[in-house]
Symmetry: C2
Subunit: 225 residues, 2 copies
DNA sequence: TTTTTAATTAATTAATTGTTTAATTAATAA
DNA sequence: TTATTAATTAAACAATTAATTAATTAAAAA
């Protein structure tokens, strides 16, 4: 009765091995590593070690490093769509809904902005096209629709460029999370859940009415030298 | 007279070799490669080939791959400060100046947003701290100062959070360039010089007065379902 | 039970990386 | 001129990488 569990030599299929458990451990390790460091900077050995399995498991379950990465991407988009149910419907999204939902999502999923920007910006060719399509087919057109309705019904200014307006709104929503290190270290804006809620309300008001006080002149002529 | 130019074996110091020229060629190659691909994904051999010199030249002139990268970073910040002279002065920057100058700079230097975000976001530890300090010591505090003046003199709303307001402004300024592929492919917003100028004016107006028409209610109650 | 299949590990493979070295040639100083 | 220094190349080096393979063991099927 020597092989208590074949202690040192862990060869062969382990007793009670769980296919799905290993798979999920690898995906989890991939998320941890790929969201904070660049693709090439993360080695399979690191991922495997961080998942507590042998390096060859990545190729066994996902075919390749790239395969694991793509599986991770799919999972991330799934979790986005699950976290933003109101954005999965087919009607127009109001500015308020977008600001609140997206701020909350970004606050709760700090890995997302880094990841999204890296994918859309840097992985030119590889995943970029698919990313852009996936990204833009979710909420962008429906938010655009909402903005265009606002203009055509006269609620918004008639001189607004819908595309630029959408970009401005997305920018003020996403950028604070994107520049989190700068926001926290330089501006002392700590993006906890309270500040996240404050940010969405701040942005809604800024987007709709601007920063200028009621009754003040907004031409900027009254500004400080 | 066989050694016409020692055609194939290009050993030794070449006639009329220009120290500064090689240095600049390497920096140029570094800019081209490092701004579009991640640090680890760019090899010294690629850079050298793209500069038309031997791979060992990187170590000869810059000590290491990292040394070349840092030299490139320094040059980029120099070009930013030269391109934005009005931001190098010591007085407060108005929202208008910031929006116009920065939009123009981003339009003329499309590599900057990618590079900046990559540095501030992803190179954790290595250059991040230095980047944040350099970045924030240039215009951030003076723009902040301008916003705080606007609030304290009553021109801006009293309920404004200055930090969030600065982040919103930076976001609506930078994001369109950051999401350029998405802006162009999905929203059909082509960021040429005309659109860049339009963007800065659009943002100034939006920042100051919002999107809602004069006389309209800005609570959003009047929006489409 | 016996056979086959699934899961896991250690070892190997082939390619690529950043860096160093030695050889080589031009420019410069003595 | 001669000796020394600066610039360049090809080659070698050592480390690391993703991927494959063969061996091994448990689970499932026959």
């Amino acid at each position: 009765m020597k092989q208590v569990k074949s202690r040192t030599g862990n060869l062969g299929r382990p007793a009670g091995s769980d296919n799905e458990k290993v798979r999920e451990a690898l995906l989890q390790a991939a998320r941890e590593n790929f969201t904070s460091r660049e693709f090439k900077a993360v080695s399979l050995r690191e991922i495997a070690a961080s998942a507590g399995v042998n390096g060859a498991m990545v190729n066994y379950y996902f075919g390749s490093k790239q395969g694991l990465y793509m599986a991770m991407v799919d999972g991330m988009f799934d979790s986005l769509e699950k976290s933003l149910p109101e954005m999965s419907e087919s009607s127009a999204i109001t500015v308020e809904d977008f600001s609140r939902s997206y701020c909350q999502f970004l606050g709760e999923n700090p890995w997302w902005p880094n990841f999204m920007v890296r994918e859309v910006l840097f992985n030119e060719g590889d995943n970029q096209d698919a990313m852009i399509r996936k990204f833009s087919s979710s909420f962008a057109p429906r938010l655009m629709q909402s903005i265009q309705q606002g203009i055509s019904c006269g609620h918004y200014r008639q001189d607004l460029n819908p595309g630029l307006t959408l970009l401005s709104l997305m920018g003020m929503t996403i950028f604070p999370f994107l520049a989190r290190p700068m926001a926290e270290q330089v501006l002392k804006v700590n993006l906890d859940s309270n500040m996240t809620a404050a940010l969405s309300e701040h942005n809604i008001k800024l987007f709709l009415s601007g920063v200028v006080s009621d009754g003040e002149d907004a031409t900027g002529a009254g500004e400080q030298s």
